[in-house]
């Protein structure tokens, strides 16, 4: 979707602000959000592409002002509601409880004894390469043009790189296709390539000299170039 998350090349955000000696977490609730995301992913309630699309569907103004873990909270909550893992009414009741008791721990609102401990992996490495035997259509050095697409759903072809001419740099193997996997339409794995774009092709006269951008593109994002 042509959402506000697709930030590449947007202007007006000002300088990059770095924080000296930044802590791993600025508050305990950030770690709680990370833990909930990992736990829900680990239980298979949603895949990584559904999760990214869940975050992308935040209200645009909220997306821009939210911190990273607020975005995650919003995405995880949306997906768990949509999947029926939690209910809107019980969530509203718990929110009301903690809004009136903001300093209470999460266990203060429990209505039932804690069930047996589930397995939990705090880290996770995605597994997206599939050995389908598909023959890649393109080879390094091939000129390509990206498609001019504007899907309502999830895509990983950034807006700034649509309808642009590039050159295939490398074949990365056969990877799960996010555009279908985010919508329950299956993994539909396809060849993935690193494609090199000259900055002038992307930004025209405004391009800085002597610059290129490499973007990882699934095969269906590409057609043969001239």
């Amino acid at each position: 979707m042509d959402g506000v998350h697709d930030l590449g090349g947007m202007q007006g955000f000002g300088p990059v602000e770095r924080e000296e000696n930044e802590p791993a977490f600025h508050a305990e609730w950030e770690a709680a959000v990370l833990a909930m995301m990992r736990a829900a992913r680990g239980r298979g309630f949603f895949n990584i592409d559904e999760f990214r699309h869940g975050v992308e569907r935040m209200a645009p103004a909220h997306y821009l002002r939210a911190t990273y873990y607020e975005k995650w909270l919003d995405g995880v909550t949306r997906l768990l509601l949509e999947k029926g893992v939690i209910g809107a009414e019980e969530l509203a009741a718990r929110r009301a409880f903690f809004e009136s008791k903001p300093d209470e721990p999460a266990t203060a609102a429990l209505r039932a004894p804690l069930p047996p401990r589930a397995a939990f992996n705090p880290g996770r490495i995605e597994d997206v390469i599939r050995q389908t035997g598909a023959i890649p259509r393109f080879a390094p050095g091939d000129p390509v043009v990206t498609r001019e697409i504007h899907p309502w759903g999830h895509t990983r072809l950034p807006r700034y790189a649509r309808g642009k001419r590039g050159v295939v740099h490398r074949f990365h193997g056969i990877h799960v296709f996010p555009d279908t996997n985010a919508h329950g339409r299956g993994e539909q794995p396809q060849p993935l390539y690193s494609v090199r774009f000259d900055a002038r092709e992307l930004w025209g006269e405004a391009a800085e000299p002597n610059q290129a951008v490499h973007i990882d593109c699934w095969e269906s994002y590409l057609r043969p170039g001239a």
Binding site: L7, A24, E28, A31, V85, Y160, S194, Q211
Partner: protein, 200 residues
């Protein structure tokens, strides 16, 4: 909270607690999960594996070739099973820079948790369109004759920069080189300095 956290929703903590209590009750979130996340990332934040790989590449030419050509095998030597990393080498002709414009993809297994600035709109929007300018603003002047090659992490592949070994470190051992290699040098927003600098 730094300037990167200007507008934390006042109800965010209650919304976190609400979801947390439901997931605890449903057996989805184990009671010790939050503590385990904190322990893991507070202890394991920073470019641990990435810095070790670079230091070894600087001192062992054969390892460097493997890190660039077969990164999975090179990382396995350091005890990490990770098939999705590409290592891109800074040279006299090329300076590499890593970003994710669509979300905040980052090579956590080799660099730890991403810094907040990496996840904020200023960096994500500008790194692809005016990298020389933002690097200058961040204190890194890239010579005009060096190409800036930006890697936008649009898929599940992750990128790490192999920075240039600084002049004046020729006598240092692999172990002595590791602390010079900061997270920022592996993202491409800084060059390695010949003596340790405070962590960013």
């Amino acid at each position: 909270m730094g300037k990167n956290h200007p507008n934390v929703d006042p109800y965010v903590v209650s919304r976190v607690r609400a979801l947390e209590s439901l997931l605890l009750e449903k057996g989805i979130l184990p009671p010790d999960a939050v503590d385990r996340v904190i322990q893991r990332y507070e202890a394991d934040t920073g470019p641990m594996v990435g810095a070790r790989a670079v230091a070894r590449a600087w001192t062992d030419e054969a390892y460097k070739r493997r890190l660039l050509d077969e990164p999975k095998a090179a990382l396995a030597d350091l005890g990490l099973d990770y098939a999705l990393l590409m290592v891109v080498e800074n040279t006299e002709a090329v300076h590499n820079l890593v970003v994710c414009t669509l979300c905040s993809c980052y090579p956590w297994p080799v660099l730890g948790l991403p810094p907040t600035w990496y996840k904020m709109p200023a960096y994500r929007s500008r790194a692809v369109s005016e990298p020389r300018t933002i690097l200058r603003e961040m204190g890194l002047e890239v010579a005009p004759e060096r190409e800036i090659r930006v890697w936008d992490s649009s898929a599940e592949m992750r990128y790490m920069v192999l920075p240039r070994r600084p002049v004046g470190t020729e006598r240092l051992s692999e172990a002595e080189l590791v602390p010079l290699i900061t997270r920022d040098t592996l993202i491409g927003v800084a060059e390695v300095r010949p003596s340790p600098t405070p962590a960013r």
